[in-house]
Symmetry: none
DNA sequence: TATGAATGAGAATTCATTCAT
DNA sequence: TATGAATGAATTCTCATTCAT
């Protein structure tokens, strides 16, 4: 089945792609706002301005739609991570940059946090069923390993740091604060998203991470 | 509404309390497993062995039941935290103990993580409506502040550490790893809950936090 | 869980039973008229005057409802067959009576024919899944075997007749005519259900069956 | 609307015919397997390897497609019946041959049975609307009448046999057994389609019919 | 002739909640 | 206090059919 690429057909294909992407974007917003369980296919249709039936036409069912959204979200953050070029910076700067990037990415893409939560609530079965999971592995791990190695060699970093552990820690410092922002704000009685609070958090995280990696 | 405390009545009241607690426990498990949106009142009734109607009798509706579960979960962790008695230990030990406690509590009470996620997905409206939120504030914050102060005074800790930031960071290091255990395991292709992986994580977290607080 | 049989409870139980039976009757009519595939749960609810949700409450889903209807239909015809008491009649009369009974039963219970058709269209999976299939075996087979034996002994019947084959043949003669009444009427251009046509058919069938069993 | 028969056009027409036949065959299989109500236009398209839209182009809608399938099925069996040439055989052989033909035709064309069931479930409205119904009348009726007449004249057959009644009976004996094969097998607990069971059934039917027609 | 994209009406099923006792 | 029966409003998913090219 070779693709017919007459203009008319191409346009139709592009329409199909566009529809799929429109649906994906609408679904991402809906899932981010309500979680997998609370998301409504009807609302996704409304958000996308397309027919509900079309969602099933392209994505089979709600579960697979979620899977597609999740994969796209991972692909997106991985793409951004890829462009960080940590190896162009001195080790300490590279680590600081990673902390900042993570924080900013989560801030600007709050949907990523809720999607991740939903995925884990469902025990990541959407990833287990995805043939493309491995591609979702962060390219940062290798880069970060190299950064740590350089830092160790030039004497600025302590040795024996596992890049995966560090990566998880950097993510966790931002993630917990932002994902649980509402409960934390309620309990502490202050707005954790106020500009000042945000910049204080970023400083703190940088200090924690650098305080750890830098040889004392 | 003074309580009638004739023996017969007392017994009935005790029964009522028991039923309420049974329902709460069943609801906690259900909410933990499926989130607020995915939880089913029918299943809660089944789990509890009690009639569905009774759930409404005691808790009005699903939302308020969730609120009750959430408050109870907070009360429970706060109670445990209260018993940590960090002030009986030297500052560094106290911090290490807090890291360990947090990790172990999350490990043993995975429902706490999903409840928190659900609460935040719903923008903590269940807490905002709770008149008892403030009581949910961790007693640890004050204790931890005192520990940090002592450490600073005896010269072992760096100064200027905000106990709330530190508390959030300690929680975040455990939380992200455990809450996202499924996606992380899938992506990294290894079981993050294996005993060895768990102990490595705990060591890493202690090093990160102590590496930060200890004056270098 | 012993049954509480206070009057109030008994009545409630009777209500439950009554509702279930009302649903079954409505479902039988609907399935008979439209087949399993064409039947609409909404219409069954309407026909029964009960809430659609209740159908699911009692019967799980449409498939199981069909299974229940099918089993009931079988139980009913078996019950009637049981009351035929063929052994009280001389062999030839007994066979004639069976032919007449079968014809009349199908005439008065056209739903039985369509239910059977639906069941077979679905390859009898509803029976395979029924733990009570064996009870649906016709008591007539044994009775008919005895009738044939008696006839053979008194010299009026030919020997070597398999009661199952005969039973199937008797049924088939009525079944085909009645079940395919519409196509046959259309093709032959005459009304097969007119009184005269009906009595002619019955005579013919009796002659065929008796012509076969009677020793010539 | 005279047909344009330039070579190029002829070829296109042949293509069109081929497509129509492909669709008809696919539809026949689908209707046979699932009945009219359970058949899916999507699946018919898949089975035929042709576009769904084409089905509507050629056959208007699902109903008319079913009608076309039904008419074709009738035309086919009538064609085969026409080739039986019963008048070339002695009366008793002719009748035996008809019994065997009917049995074998149903065995080899199980779709005919389910199509007939579907048609009757819908009260043969597809035939009533067909202008060609009368052509579907079996040529056998006349032939069979002649056979019966010859048999009566040569003294081997009883008199007064209505060929339509006999035709229906012969069909019914095979039809019931094969159409209800699944329920019967389930209830009797044995496989009615096993080779031995099949040949026993054929013997039995021949005996029944010949036992009836032959003058005793 | 042939096709992929799109749709509205409907169908099965689910769910929180209330009734009646 | 406790419970089985009942319900209305969704909710996911399906299906025949049409559009546009």
């Amino acid at each position: 089945m070779t693709r017919d690429t007459t203009p008319a057909n191409e346009e139709r294909l592009r329409d199909a792609d566009r529809s799929q992407n429109t649906i994906l974007a609408a679904a991402r917003d809906e899932f981010a706002e309500y979680g997998l369980g609370g998301a409504r296919v009807d609302r996704i249709a409304e958000r996308s301005g397309l027919n509900k039936r079309l969602i099933y036409y392209y994505f089979e069912d709600k579960e697979r739609l979620f899977q597609a959204v999740l994969e796209q979200a991972y692909r997106h953050i991985r793409e951004e991570e890829r462009q960080l070029n940590l190896l162009d910076l001195p080790p300490a700067d590279a680590v600081r940059r990673l902390v900042e990037f993570t924080w900013n990415y989560y801030l600007e893409h709050p949907e990523f946090l809720t999607l991740l939560n939903s995925a884990n609530l469902h025990r990541a079965r959407h990833l287990d069923e995805s043939p493309r999971v491995r591609e979702l592995n962060s390219p940062l791990i290798a880069m970060l390993g190299e950064v740590l190695e350089r830092g160790r060699k030039d004497g600025s970093f302590r040795g024996g740091i596992d890049p995966i552990q560090l990566y998880v820690s950097i993510a966790g410092l931002s993630y917990f604060y932002l994902s649980n922002n509402f409960t934390l704000s309620a309990i502490f009685g202050r707005d954790l998203m106020a500009p000042k609070a945000r910049s204080e958090r970023l400083s703190h995280m940088s200090e924690v991470i650098l305080g750890y990696v830098l040889r004392s």
